[in-house]
Symmetry: C2
Subunit: 103 residues, 2 copies
DNA sequence: CATAATACTTCGTGATACGATGTATTATGT
DNA sequence: ACATAATACATCGTATCACGAAGTATTATG
């Protein structure tokens, strides 16, 4: 899909992917694949950004002798998801303007 | 609204604003205001981009002794709007994923 | 007669998606 | 046994882009 349209959706997609259960990079990419494609470099940029914003916390744990970084959503992250749902009303009104022939 | 979400919508909003009738900078901003706020510097960047992409044509005309640049949508621009509508199905599916609690 | 509105333009900055590339380990196929 | 793919994370450089700030000029308005 269009790279620009993607921009506003990436962060919330990643938050949604870790909302129900802690997850890690590779799995997040696979879980999101049916909805939105993102490369590893993009994902790690997103995760770092969300971490800096306090929307998730990281914990390193061993799995089959290999280290994994597990990401967990915070209250701030959950609030971000709620804000996004509210913002969506605006988006819908914009879409209708565009789809129904503009002015 | 969120700057990132905006990115994928700006171009199509501007195209929609000139779809029905040729328009010019200042008016486009006013017409879009109820839906999406954009500054002059942003709009002219968008218009230049759309022109380079062949999605609109420009014509300078005098109006009350003042020069105005009128923008008209092209077939390429109209096709862009159609593509956008098709892309929207993906966006909706992403939204549902995010809104309904992710994985 | 100043202030606001109209109308367009340029510049610099910060944000950011992504390809390319690198490092390591574990599975899988032949 | 050995190569290839999959898993897992990380960094760097680049191109795109929205926007604030500032500028130029004309026409309404209070």
């Amino acid at each position: 899909m269009d790279a620009q349209l993607k921009r506003g959706l990436l962060d919330v997609c990643v938050l949604a992917a870790i909302k129900g259960e802690d997850s890690y990079g590779y799995r997040i990419i696979k879980d999101l694949k049916p909805y939105i494609a993102l490369s590893e470099s993009t994902l790690y940029t997103v995760l770092k950004r969300l971490e800096n914003a306090g929307m998730l916390t990281v914990r390193t744990a061993e799995h089959d002798g290999r280290l994994r970084k597990y990401y967990r959503i915070t209250d701030v992250g959950l609030r971000r998801l709620e804000d996004f749902k509210n913002e969506w009303k605006e988006v819908i009104s914009i879409y209708q303007y565009v789809a129904e022939g503009g002015a």
